[in-house]
């Protein structure tokens, strides 16, 4: 099992050929209180770096991009009733969707946990 991060602050945790996607704890902190999440439809084909979901805080809407390409196989319906899970568990039960990877080699271009941590600190 491996977790990778993007420069846009998404994470993807891969088990077999399925990746679970969410936004990083750093991102939820920057967003502030999340009040709505728009999830992709199951079956939708997502392209790496393209819009996949939308997360809305009290103040603003932000796009969530697909960290890797794949087909959406499941979405986290819990977020529809309880969007604040993105704040309380950004990298656990606040996940957005799962996708079946179509090009696992894309993972090689993402950051591991240590690299992402350094990336965030470099931005501060």
């Amino acid at each position: 099992m491996t977790i990778k991060y993007t420069k846009d602050h998404e994470w993807v945790r891969v088990e077999g050929d399925v990746g679970t996607v969410g936004v990083s704890d750093h991102a939820q902190h920057q967003l502030g209180d999340v009040v709505f999440v728009e999830l992709p439809d199951v079956g939708r084909a997502l392209q790496q770096g393209k819009e996949a979901a939308v997360v809305e805080s009290v103040k603003a809407a932000s796009d969530v991009y697909a960290p890797v390409s794949g087909e959406v196989v499941e979405v986290n319906h819990e977020l529809e009733n309880e969007p604040a899970r993105v704040n309380t568990g950004a990298e656990t039960d606040g996940w957005f969707f799962k996708l079946r990877l179509t090009n696992p080699a894309e993972l090689d271009g993402l950051m591991d946990e240590a690299a992402y941590k350094a990336f965030v600190e470099g931005q501060a």
Binding site: G32, D33, V35, F36, E56, S57, V58, K59, A60
Partner: protein
């Protein structure tokens, strides 16, 4: 501590905002806290439940003096300023010749002068406008040496009375010079949240002392601009530059209550003919509240469409109302669609979101009526 970004101005409470770990953002040329660690939702709700302290020192405080500054100012605004009793205040608008709104402001009859509070982003332009148009009739002084704080919420009166006992019995929209722990202040019972509360004007050098004294009270939390925006939106109050601007008239903006009866008849303010016509025949479009089904907010610039998908207007402010516990928005629609409960569609990211024209405020105003 981080310094303010280059070219941004700071208020006298800037150091305190940093100490309180406010998340600083540029706003109207100032480095201001959008939220503190509490977060917008909790800051919003705290203000509705207890009391919130807001730094609004970026706003323009202006003194108008002269033989009859009230009569002079009436040439620029549609409010009854001459009829304002000493110690009373009123919301009014600077208008252009088309009846468009140059800024919205509070005017207080402070006895020997008029005391104005104008929007931060407009203050230089407002002062220039008054100096130009009121030349020889009134002296205009931008009071850069003053800070301004707002203490808002149901506990505000109880808290402020510990320092200024006479604050408790002030009427809504009244003004009182007072002392706060020996510090001279000027307070008004007014605000921008829909709650009871006060604005406190003081010398810049005293602002931090007063802010710290208020924050030391159990009921008071520091509140950022994010919650200030969600609070005013729930209260149905306009944000200049968004819900009203030079292209909107007071009638389109549903601000007829700011057009004093005498002034409607007498005129003598810019745009009177256009506004009078709109009062008699209706305006082509109206500012309305919008209530959506579900939890998805519709933001500023979202297109508003009729049931057939024809564009009938645009959202000017929209977000999530923490107290309303649902999305809240306001915007302009063509007059044919402005009636309460008219079904409309909001086009959010290309998809229609069902909505209805709704009454404002979304949350009942709780001003002190004595």
């Amino acid at each position: 501590m981080t310094e303010a970004a280059e070219n941004l101005k700071t208020t006298p409470l800037h150091g305190l905002h940093l100490e309180l770990k406010g998340r600083m953002v540029p706003f109207a040329g100032y480095d201001m806290p959008v939220q503190y660690p509490l977060g917008i939702l909790k800051e919003h709700q705290h203000t509705r439940d207890k009391a919130g302290l807001f730094d609004v020192s970026h706003m323009g405080q202006v003194r108008l003096t002269g033989d009859d500054p009230a009569a002079a100012l009436e040439a620029l605004v549609p409010g009854d300023i001459k009829g304002l009793a000493r110690g009373r205040m009123r919301y009014t608008l600077f208008l252009n010749e088309q009846g468009g709104i140059l800024d919205d402001l509070m005017v207080t009859n402070a006895g020997d002068h008029l005391f104005l509070v104008v929007n931060a982003a407009c203050k230089e332009q407002d002062v220039a406008h008054m100096r130009d148009r009121l030349k020889g009739k009134a002296e205009v002084e931008l009071l850069d040496d003053l800070a301004l704080m707002a203490l808002q919420g149901p506990a505000a009166a109880g808290v402020l009375a510990r320092f200024i006992p006479e604050a408790a019995t002030m009427k809504f929209m009244s003004y009182l010079p007072a002392t706060f722990n020996g510090i001279p202040v000027v307070i008004t019972r007014s605000g921008y949240t829909g709650e009871d509360g006060y604005e406190i004007s003081c010398d810049t050098s005293d602002a931090e002392t007063i802010a710290r004294a208020l924050l030391a009270e159990d009921e008071v939390e520091a509140i950022g601009l994010g919650a200030r925006d969600s609070l005013r939106l729930e209260a149905g109050l306009c944000l200049y530059g968004h819900d009203i601007d030079t292209t909107t008239t007071p009638v389109e903006a549903a601000l007829e209550w700011a057009l004093s009866k005498r002034r409607r008849e007498e005129g003598g303010f810019p745009g009177h003919a256009i506004i009078k016509g709109q009062l008699e025949n209706g305006a082509p479009r109206r500012r309305v509240g919008l209530r959506t089904e579900g939890r998805q907010p519709a933001r500023e610039h979202t297109d508003i469409c009729d049931a057939s998908g024809n564009k009938i207007g645009e959202v000017t402010s929209g977000g999530f109302g923490p107290t309303f516990n649902a999305p809240v928005a306001m915007g302009y629609v063509d007059r044919a669609h402005a009636a309460l409960d008219t079904p409309v569609q909001l086009m959010v990211r290309g998809k229609p979101l069902a909505a209805k024209v709704a009454a404002m405020p979304f949350v009942p105003q709780r001003y002190y009526r004595g």
